[in-house]
């Protein structure tokens, strides 16, 4: 065996040794402490905004220093999993809603004594609570909306999207605007798990059965929802060969003014501020049931942290302080998870897009990702892989869903 494989095997071996060496000592609030915080939320544009919040915290708590590590989202899950296994995890770290259940069940999150629970939007606080105890604090929330380029709509003589649009409206507009010869595309929506559970909800279907042990998407509604995504490819959306699915492909196309409609999260507002495109947003169209994807991130404290008290203090500051609210609103860095809507009001007047109200309107009908305690990533990977098979034309949509059903059910059965 050479180095490559030993790196993989070695990590797991070393991890076993390290895990037995951890111990916790009581926090000493009076002595200066340094806590570590690993995050992905500030990566790619919000690093300076995070630094502002850290500075304010350190000023208010002169005895606590926060040592920040920022990782790209694509590597974050792997890095966190490895650090947890090796016992080298930071005192405070980001988690996603989809992984909360698994981390909580495996005992890596410290139970938190929240000093001011009423500061948080209750639904978000409860999303990270188990049996009435908070094991993480929501740090932000965001939703997915329909971005559109007004100039392309005007040029094709199509009226702008509204919150009441249906899939049929979207398709008609996209077909009319698409001009492949000129490199103009009408629509872009990723063909992936994260879009599928949502369009499924928009079509009145659901991903998992109520017991959470088998999938429920291989139905006429599920097939129609999959076709809605898959059949855009090559008609109103570029194909995989043309680059669809590669990182930043869709946002760049939109930025360049060559894409009329884009389904993506409000976290890319910042990326379009310098764009010459004349754009705005609306709530995503549906096919009977309004369902917008809502994502929230949270911050957890390591159960093995030696400074749980100081770490909790930072976690609370990062998720509920006025400084954080101000920084996030000023920069359009998602939405703060706070309960006080009056503080959020200024968000509506912070510049492009004009229709920021759509961000809140989208919350009226939401779709949350299906979550399982074991096999989350595998389930997501299988769903995306099968949908892409259908997109590439190597399987029919029916075949892909039948195969996804069989494979995911096997994962959920613990096989």
């Amino acid at each position: 065996m050479n180095r490559k494989i030993m790196a993989v095997v070695g990590l797991t071996g070393v991890a076993a040794l390290v895990m037995t060496g951890c111990s916790a000592t009581p926090a000493e609030p009076d002595a200066p402490v340094t806590i570590t915080y690993t995050n992905f939320i500030s990566n790619d544009g919000n690093e300076a905004n995070l630094a502002k919040i850290v500075d304010a915290f350190e000023k208010a708590n002169p005895n606590i220093t926060v040592d920040v590590t920022t990782l790209p989202y694509s590597d974050y899950g792997t890095a966190l999993q490895t650090d947890l296994a090796a016992g080298t995890v930071s005192d405070v770290f980001d988690i996603e809603y989809a992984n909360y259940a698994s981390y909580q069940a495996n005992g890596v999150l410290a139970p938190l004594k929240v000093s001011n629970p009423s500061a948080y939007r209750q639904s978000l606080l409860e999303a990270y609570s188990t049996d009435g105890t908070s094991y993480a604090l929501p740090s932000s929330f965001s939703d997915v909306v329909l971005y559109y380029n007004k100039d392309l709509f005007d040029a094709a003589g199509v009226s702008y999207p509204t919150n009441d649009w249906t899939w049929a409206d979207e398709k008609a507009a996209a077909l009319k605007i698409t001009d492949q010869a000129a490199g103009i595309w009408g629509d872009h929506q990723p063909v992936s798990f994260y879009e599928y559970y949502k369009v499924l909800a928009q079509n009145g279907g659901k991903f998992l059965n109520d017991d959470g042990k088998t999938v429920a998407f291989n139905t006429p509604a599920g097939i129609e929802a999959a076709k809605w995504l898959v059949e855009k490819s090559g008609t109103t959306m570029p194909t995989i060969e043309q680059g669809q699915g590669t990182p930043d492909f869709d946002t760049n196309l939109f930025k360049d003014g060559k894409l009329a409609m884009l389904h993506t999260g409000i976290w890319v507002f910042g990326a379009f501020t310098d764009s010459p495109a004349n754009w705005d947003i609306a709530v995503e169209p549906s096919n009977g049931t309004k369902a917008s994807a809502v994502f929230s991130n949270a911050i957890g404290v390591s159960a093995n942290s030696k400074h749980i008290e100081a770490a909790t203090k930072w976690a609370e500051f990062m998720t509920s302080s006025d400084t954080m609210v101000q920084v996030r609103l000023d920069s359009g860095w998602e939405l703060p998870p706070i309960s006080d809507d009056a503080k959020l009001a200024t968000y509506l007047d912070k510049g492009a897009p004009a229709n920021r109200q759509a961000v809140f309107d989208a919350l009226d009908g939401i779709a949350l990702p299906p979550v399982v305690a074991n096999g989350q990533s595998e389930m997501q990977d299988i769903m995306t892989e099968e949908l892409v098979e259908a997109q590439a034309g190597r399987k029919t949509v029916e075949e892909a869903l039948a195969s996804a059903e069989k494979r995911i059910n096997a994962v959920l059965a613990g096989q």
């Binding site: 797991t12 071996g13 040794l17 096989q415």
Partner: protein
């Protein structure tokens, strides 16, 4: 202990045979007494320690650790749960295991001939009195020391189906290039192509060293006997290059079974698992799916396969490797 205690055994002499030879003078026997033998062993050990300690710590230790983990169910977070040989029986009955080994063998079957023939051609060309050959040797070796991530990104770009350089050039000749890494049928060939290109320089250097150890006298003799270039290459060069060829084969096969970086960076095993190889699967199982037990079992299966292939090669070398 002094250096005089080191009495290396000559490789052309079998030690057992030497000591039992009738009439062998005891005065010249290298290791006379028990204490001398112990001293010798300790000296050898002292010289081996610098590499033996890291080997034990970072290779043997984790291997034994992985053997234990392979008998458990472990998601990296919760405590390990002993499940006996379940991981192995699951792997051996799962058709996916056969598929990923098949993909790995496909990679080796495409990569090995390409890199060997290419490396040999380069070595032969750069072993002549070519002007600027040192520079060229350096150029061809450059990819070997370049990070796989950089190489993979460049190749992904070159092989981009719609805007890549390769398909653009093919287009000039009226050939519609394939989908390369976006097409399940072409994903593995894309990886093979990039890998062969990157490792060409390594094979070239090993074979160059082999070429330079062949005595020019043999070529002169062959010339006198009227042998042309082809004849000299196939009757002198290739047979006398066989030890280097053997080395290249062993190393390339072992590396081939452990192919990972380029797969991870170019396709991550896709599309639709078409380029999923064993080590990528070990990685996915451990770090994406939290199945470290199954991954460790797969690591051991891979180790057994590599060991078996290497043993067969070493046995088989007697038939064709010519140590002059």
């Amino acid at each position: 202990m002094t250096l005089s205690a080191i009495q290396p055994i000559r490789s052309d002499q079998d030690p057992a045979e030497r000591n039992s030879r009738p009439g062998h003078s005891r005065a010249t026997a290298p290791l006379r007494t028990r204490s001398q033998k112990t001293k010798y062993a300790l000296t050898v050990l002292a010289f081996l320690l610098p590499s033996a300690i890291p080997l034990a710590l970072f290779t043997l230790g984790p291997m034994i650790g992985a053997a234990w983990i392979s008998l458990t169910k472990w998601n990296l977070l919760a405590p390990q749960q002993f499940i006996g040989l379940d991981n192995y029986s699951k792997l051996l009955t799962d058709p996916r295991t056969g598929e990923i080994f098949l993909h790995t063998v496909y990679y080796i079957a495409g990569y090995l001939p390409l890199v060997y023939v290419g490396g040999l051609a380069l070595a032969l060309a750069l072993n002549t009195a070519l002007k600027g050959r040192s520079f060229l040797r350096g150029v061809y070796f450059l990819p070997v020391i370049t990070s796989w991530i950089v190489v993979a990104l460049v190749w992904r770009w070159l092989l981009n189906p719609s805007s890549g350089a390769v398909n653009s050039v093919l287009g000039w000749f009226g050939i519609e290039g394939p989908g390369w890494w976006t097409d399940p049928n072409w994903a593995m060939p894309s990886i093979i192509l990039a890998s062969a290109w990157k490792d060409l320089g390594f094979v070239m250097v090993i074979l160059l060293a082999g070429l330079q150890s062949i005595s020019p006298d043999l070529y002169d003799a062959a010339k006198v006997d009227g042998a042309g270039w082809w004849r000299r290459t196939f009757s002198v060069t290739i047979p006398l290059l066989s030890p280097s060829t053997f080395f290249v084969l062993i190393i390339s096969l072992i590396n081939g079974f452990q192919v990972f970086d380029q797969v991870y960076a170019m396709t991550s095993g896709g599309p639709a698992g078409a380029s999923q190889v064993v080590v990528q699967q070990i990685y996915d199982l451990t770090f994406r799916y939290g199945k470290a037990g199954e991954a460790s079992a797969l690591s051991w299966l891979l180790f057994i396969v590599v060991l078996a292939v290497t043993v067969i090669q070493i046995r088989g070398q007697k038939r064709w490797v010519n140590y002059g």
